[in-house]
């Protein structure tokens, strides 16, 4: 795992920047989430992990790798891009559309666990549920997040939470992962412009 201050793509040093999880702590949280998934799904049978871009995708892959390491269960991993289902498309310029990759087994009748880095307003998850409806009908849909920072705007909750972080609306939670950012870390930054949703 990378060192805490090796986060080249983000500029630390804001006066209010606080490290919530170091690289090794983040690794332990992922391990615990993997164990919880194994426990709740009775060994991970008939379960598919779908990562929500950007950072939900490497997180889903890590969870699958840890689950395989603990119990030898190979969970299919896919990608669920939600861009075309967002309810805030008109608030910004058109966003680039990402790829959705459904595992070859599909989702029909299976347990789907959506994986994302931060649970905030709940709008991303709502969009993901809409996107899911168009690719099939899973038996059950669950949600795993690395960080729950509160401030929900919709009646949505996570089934697996890595860490609850009480935040103010003006703060921003930044999850950095080696795959996307070159290092593992979770930071809390005070951002007068308000949190990124």
């Amino acid at each position: 795992m990378a060192q805490l201050d090796a986060a080249p793509t983000h500029q630390p040093g804001h006066s209010g920047d606080k490290v919530i999880l170091t690289g090794s702590e983040l690794g332990r949280v992922v391990d615990r989430l993997a164990h919880q998934i194994l426990e709740k799904t009775h060994g991970g049978g008939e379960t598919v992990l779908l990562g929500i871009p950007t950072r939900g995708v490497p997180l889903a892959r890590r969870l699958a790798a840890r689950i395989a390491a603990f119990e030898g269960a190979e969970l299919p991993v896919g990608v669920l891009d939600i861009t075309l289902y967002r309810d805030d498309l008109r608030l910004r310029a058109a966003r680039p559309v990402g790829r959705t990759e459904v595992p070859s087994c599909g989702v029909e009748g299976l347990r789907v666990i959506l994986v994302d880095d931060v649970l905030f307003s709940g709008r991303t998850v709502r969009a993901a549920l809409d996107a899911m409806r168009d690719i099939g009908r899973p038996r059950v849909v669950q949600l795993a997040v690395l960080v729950d920072r509160g401030h929900r705007e919709l009646p949505i909750r996570a089934d697996y939470v890595g860490k609850n972080i009480p935040t103010a609306l003006t703060e921003t939670v930044r999850v950095l992962l080696t795959e996307t950012d070159g290092a593992d870390q979770v930071r809390l930054a005070s951002d007068p412009a308000g949190g990124a949703r």
């Binding site: 891009d81 075309l84 289902y85 910004r92 058109a94 559309v97 959705t100």
Partner: protein, 303 residues
């Protein structure tokens, strides 16, 4: 970008974004549920002053897959036949709150005028002998998906360049994306001033075929012609038609394209049109994905 009026308005970055977005749209069309909620509540008007099947249906399918409301307007059977002007029609559409107007018109430049009269986006679906930018985008998409790249591709565009908006838009876009274009056709069907286009020209099709990666046949637009551009259909087919003999002269990987509708037996022989080297039906399928991408990128975000 608000309007899509000319292929010349597209820089390499935006054109590539359209093609990449189209690839994602295409991956969604294999699904059981082909509809996306993205443009819910938006209104797209198809304003067609000229006949069209492919383009109008393609735009309609694209808009509907993105959940936009589609209003089809064709000049026949509308107030246009009572003499209403383009501007008055535009103001009517404006009053109805059209978010986008897809326009085809026999007058070159009509979409540009329209863009000045309406608040919504204007998409040029073919204006006279001028431009047809979404056709160029779907052609580029087809080349990229068949051959894997556009930069450095050698593309030969054959036939009635003079009357072809497809040729003009393709030359502009392919040049932007780094392909090398050669226009081949009889001197009477190459436009005056073609020297200033970013393309080479040739009167001898057989000389340029062996080096081509893509051969794009153009429809001979007899409805826009008198009768003096070439001696006879048979002679045209012999000198500039794509037949089985010329197909054999092509490199093994080369593809044959046609924007449709075809004059089978004239610019393209039936056996070529139906061969696996021909991408004609692929072009139609790709047209929907590319138009979805364009509608999304123009209407999906804020204004």
């Amino acid at each position: 970008m608000r309007h899509l009026l000319s292929a010349a308005d597209l820089d390499a970055a935006f054109a590539t974004q359209v093609l990449d977005t189209a690839a994602e749209m295409a991956s969604l069309t294999g699904r059981e549920v082909k509809k996306l909620p993205t443009l819910r509540g938006r209104t797209v008007v198809n304003l067609f002053y000229e006949d069209s099947t492919r383009t109008r249906i393609s735009f309609e399918a694209a808009a509907k897959r993105l959940s936009a409301d589609v209003i089809n307007f064709s000049a026949k059977g509308s107030s246009v036949s009572k003499g209403e002007s383009l501007k008055d029609t535009a103001l009517t559409l404006q009053a109805m709150g059209a978010d986008a107007v897809v326009v085809r018109h026999s007058a070159s430049g009509a979409p540009h005028r329209l863009a000045g009269w309406v608040d919504g986006s204007v998409l040029n679906a073919g204006d006279g002998t001028h431009e047809h930018p979404t056709q160029a985008l779907l052609d580029a998409y087809t080349m990229r998906s068949r051959l894997g790249r556009l930069a450095g591709l050698r593309v030969v565009i054959v036939g009635d360049v003079l009357h072809s908006r497809v040729a003009r838009s393709n030359v502009l876009l392919l040049h932007t994306l780094g392909a090398e274009v050669t226009l081949a056709g009889p001197p009477t069907l190459l436009p005056v001033g073609v020297d200033s286009w970013p393309a080479k020209t040739s009167y001898d099709l057989d000389a340029v075929l062996p080096g081509a990666d893509v051969v794009m046949m153009l429809r001979v637009q007899r409805e826009r012609m008198g009768d003096s551009f070439f001696p006879s259909a048979r002679e045209y087919a012999r000198r500039y038609g794509m037949d089985a003999v010329r197909l054999r002269a092509l490199a093994d990987h080369a593809i044959v394209m046609h924007p449709g509708p075809m004059n089978r037996g004239m610019e393209i022989a039936a056996e070529v049109a139906d061969s696996p080297r021909s991408t004609i039906t692929e072009q139609v399928a790709n047209g929907v994905s590319v138009r979805m991408a364009v509608l999304y990128l123009l209407l999906g975000g804020h204004r």
